[in-house]
């Protein structure tokens, strides 16, 4: 089971894939447990990928959790390292340079689209709008640490929402 966790951990944070693999194919988790894992992943700081640790834990305890984390990050590390290596090796070539001239602004466009879809779920009333605007202004116009913004927003949420 532990070895399976290693081979299947897979690294792609594709929820449907995880769901099919763990709930439908292997019956290691119930659907409810899977949903709980997502909820925990969203609650904890850092990437949602930590939900894999929860799944690993459910399947085979602490060792499972550790293995799940290792196996979900390993492919990313390998792929990104190779990608980054080639990028930095050929960074000055005209092909890479001009492609990235198109890619960089496109990334900003993509992030803006993500911001809108996040906003659609998170900004539901004047208060949440206010919190978003204040966080934006604090980061753009002051040197405040983003952690204070997160903590402040959490406290505001607890008191007001």
């Amino acid at each position: 089971m532990v070895i399976n966790a290693l081979t299947i951990g897979g690294g792609f944070v594709m929820l449907p894939m995880l769901q099919k693999e763990f709930v439908e194919n292997h019956h290691w988790l119930t659907n409810q447990e899977f949903l709980d894992a997502i909820a925990i992943g969203q609650l904890t700081p850092g990437p949602l990928t930590v939900m894999n640790a929860v799944i690993g834990y459910k399947v085979s305890g602490l060792i499972g959790a550790v293995l799940a984390m290792v196996s979900s990050y390993l492919p990313c590390i390998i792929i990104v390292t190779i990608g980054a290596k080639y990028y930095y090796d050929y960074k000055e070539s005209i092909i890479v340079k001009s492609s990235f001239k198109g890619i960089k602004p496109a990334v900003i466009g993509l992030l803006s689209a993500v911001a809108i879809s996040l906003g659609n779920t998170a900004l539901v009333d004047p208060l949440t709008f206010g919190i978003a605007i204040i966080s934006f202004a604090v980061i753009v116009f002051t040197k405040t640490d983003p952690s204070f913004v997160i903590i402040g927003a959490g406290i505001l949420g607890a008191v007001l929402l």
Partner: protein, 181 residues
Amino acid sequence: MKEDNITVKDIFWKFLKIGSFSFGGVYSMLAFFERELVEKAKWLTHDEFVESVAIGQMTPGPPIVNTGICIGYRLKRIKGALATTAGQSFTGTLLAILLAVFYVKSKGNVLLTSVMKGVGAAVVGLLLSIIFKMSKNTIKDLKAALFALAAFSALAVFKLNPIGLILASGILGLLVYGRRT
């Protein structure tokens, strides 16, 4: 770049801090990368930061995790990549396991829900601030603005695949900018 002065330990601690405070999903991590690594530590320039985000988006797997790995590689090769990964996922993993062990029913907790609502709203603001800062450095002419607008509408309106979009904009970039030089 005074890369030689940066140790793997420095990288780990920085990313540990980033990973510990970035509640509310990975997009808040972008704000931390910018503040901590570009503005405070000056390990990266604005431009290198945008590059890393682009590479993170292009590679399979979670884009922001990949951005961190790419930054780590940029700073200290494979050791840096390992240090960023370990740092940015450590606290979350630990907490997740603890939550799994004690099986906290998060759905029912009203206080927690409102805290996360506040944090969720702040993350939108943080993400917008990053977009604002990136645009100032990257979108300098009409062509770049059109690239951004095209990518935005392709994702927001037509829901096209982000990796395909990045590839397409790279090819377009090659066609538009490659010829002039």
